[in-house]
């Protein structure tokens, strides 16, 4: 039972990372109709810059800020240089161009930081354990990640639902021409949305950094999981992203712990589990749990 509770929390923590990734993907898709494979590269940029900054300065907090900021700036740059030329293109062109960006970024980090994986340690202040229930110590840092992720998502929900900018974003996803007619600078709005998604991806990279080997190509497995989340939840839906990431994060974590205890094929099966879940969800809901019916 204690193991189950602990693994459940681990699942929620993975969900938070996925949600930070998926919300950016789904916003960018819902509003700009852009399928961005390079979203995982922003995750990687966040993790690398945070690890490097922390290593050089000794300050974890500075690393956090630098990682998120680096992803944000990278987001602005690639939006201005590449992405905005892709909004009107079909998904195939978007896939190919962002595939090119992945090749570039994966090689760039190798060039800058070498092929050996980097490490990002848990910050000292959060290195301890807390007893959530008596006799079950749980790492403080993981709890902090869950709390931070939840806070960021609440802020995002507030931004989209409750502010002027959010109103424009929602209007933009419904009717591009109308929002243009209202005198909103649509180009700047798109840049902002894309950079916001990049910031969230970078943040996810920093927060998940201590659990991962920080190396070239680290963004793609998480990107594919985030795709599964978006597909399960329904493209363009933030609510769906929340539901999808909880389903994927918890299923994946629990599967990895319990399936190997049931069968010898457990390790392989547990890696495949969430994809099977996705196939089942799609068989029932072809546009995801909260997707728009076509």
């Amino acid at each position: 039972m204690l193991l189950f509770l602990e693994q459940l929390l681990n699942g929620v923590q993975l969900s938070v990372t996925l949600l930070l990734m998926a919300s950016g993907l789904t916003l960018v898709f819902g509003i700009m109709n852009l399928l961005n494979l390079a979203h995982g590269s922003l995750f990687m940029v966040g993790a690398y810059v945070a690890a490097w900054t922390t290593g050089v300065s000794g300050s974890w907090l500075l690393g956090l800020v630098a990682g998120a900021a680096a992803a944000f700036v990278t987001g602005i740059v690639i939006e201005l240089v590449v992405m905005r030329r892709l909004y009107a293109r079909d998904h195939l062109d978007q896939v190919l161009a962002t595939f090119g960006l992945i090749l570039f970024f994966n090689e760039l980090v190798r060039l800058l930081w070498g092929i050996r994986p980097m490490r990002l340690d848990v910050p000292e202040a959060l290195g301890g354990f807390v007893e959530i229930v008596p006799g079950a110590p749980y790492p403080l840092y993981r709890l902090a990640v869950i709390a931070a992720g939840a806070a960021v998502m609440l802020a995002l929900a507030w931004l989209v639902q409750g502010t002027r900018v959010g109103m424009r974003i929602r209007a933009g996803s419904v009717d591009r021409e109308m929002i243009g007619a209202l005198g909103v600078d649509i180009g700047r709005l798109y840049t902002l949305v894309f950079a916001l998604g990049a910031l969230l991806a970078g943040l996810a990279g920093v927060l998940a950094g201590p659990f991962l080997a920080i190396q070239s190509g680290m963004g793609e497995p998480i990107l594919i999981l985030a795709f599964v989340v978006v597909v399960i939840g329904g493209i363009g839906s933030l609510k769906g992203a929340v539901a999808g990431s909880l389903l994927v994060g918890i299923t994946d974590t629990l599967g990895r712990v319990y399936l190997p205890k049931i069968t010898d094929a457990g390790p392989a099966l547990s890696s495949m589990l969430i994809f099977l879940v996705m196939a089942v969800v799609l068989a029932v809901f072809p546009t995801g749990l909260y997707g728009r019916k076509s």
Binding site: V95, L96, F99, L103, E107, V231, F275, T287
Partner: protein
């Protein structure tokens, strides 16, 4: 350029180049050309569903890897003299492993196609990617076949009808023969009612239904055929490299196949051969310049997507039509 020459030229290039290389004493170059042939075969099968059927699959690496493992697993059991899981003896002859790879590819592509084709557009892309990732993890989990490391076929390539292939050039022409055969079959299918239905569904699926068609079985069938051919390409790749690993199913392979199709020009089938020659040639060339070659290739892809639509075939057509002023043969796939 006349259509027949346009179609035949890339095949001719791949027939002549390895012979010239061998005569020039650079026979280490032959596998480079064979890789082009194998990737052309896989990309052509992808182009069949993408260009004609409008299905953007980002998961074809899965079938490539599965085909490779059909060869790897069969020959490992022969080399170790152990029975396969179903009690059958191993296999290490292309006459068995190629049809088997095709069959297994089709059998996996059928359910994948069924699930993926419940959706369209961006969903389809993401789902094919996810399903391929599932296969990738499945292969990593095959611990008795090397897990992460895969299978090194130190015992050598498959035989053909019991006889060993004499040299790399023989293997090359075997692959090239299969590529030509696939081209003829797929080209013919495009012009036949089967291909017309796929093409119609790509252009206007609702209208097809109103005319009395149910496109889904055709689309699933085309997806399965495509998966089977890509698995054959994977089986050939295993024989070229004498090595298989989960890396064959890595999603970047799916991405590369798409790039090849785009470079060659969507829907032209023979364009996939140009695409493979150019992309793999480019990779080899860039490797000579720097070990960090993807840092050049990546931005190059972005530029191609943004500024050179229609691919190389489109470019050749544009050059050709400028010279002859029209003479376009309407129709075709």
């Amino acid at each position: 350029m006349p259509p027949l020459l346009r179609d035949a030229l890339p095949f001719l290039v791949l027939a002549v180049a390895p012979v010239v290389a061998t005569l020039a004493g650079a026979d280490w170059l032959v596998p480079v050309f064979t890789r082009m042939v194998v990737f052309a075969l896989a990309a052509m099968a992808l182009d069949f569903i993408l260009g004609v059927g409008g299905m953007v699959s980002l998961g074809h690496a899965a079938f490539f890897a599965v085909g490779g493992y059909v060869v790897g697993i069969g020959s490992q059991h022969v080399a170790e003299s152990t029975p396969t899981p179903f009690g059958l003896p191993g296999w290490d002859d292309l006459l068995i492993s190629l049809p088997l790879a095709f069959t297994v590819g089709v059998l996996i592509a059928l359910p994948f196609g069924w699930v993926s084709l419940r959706t369209r557009g961006a969903y389809f892309i993401m789902i094919t990617l996810a399903l391929a990732q599932m296969v990738y993890y499945g292969l990593v989990g095959l611990t008795s076949y090397g897990g992460d490391d895969g299978i090194s076929m130190w015992w050598g390539r498959n035989t053909v009808a019991g006889a060993a292939l004499p040299n790399r050039l023989a293997l090359h022409f075997l692959c090239l023969g299969l590529l030509v055969a696939a081209f003829v079959v797929l080209k013919r299918l495009c012009a036949a009612p089967f291909g017309r239905v796929l093409d119609g569904a790509r252009q206007n699926e609702a209208r097809m239904r109103a005319l009395g068609y149910r496109p889904l079985p055709y689309q699933i069938g085309a997806f399965a055929l495509s998966g089977g051919i890509v698995a054959v390409a994977g089986a050939l790749m295993a024989n070229v490299d004498e090595f298989v690993s989960p890396g064959m199913g890595h999603w970047t392979i799916s991405g590369e196949l798409l790039v090849i199709v785009i470079l060659g020009g969507i829907g032209s089938l023979s364009g996939a051969v140009w695409g493979a020659v150019v992309l793999l040639g480019l990779e080899e060339g860039l490797k000579e310049i720097t070990e960090h070659w993807p840092i050049l290739l990546g931005p190059l892809l972005v530029v191609i997507v943004l500024f050179a639509r229609g691919g190389l075939t489109g470019l050749l057509d544009r050059l050709g039509s400028r010279r002859t002023q029209g003479g376009d043969d309407a129709g075709g796939a």
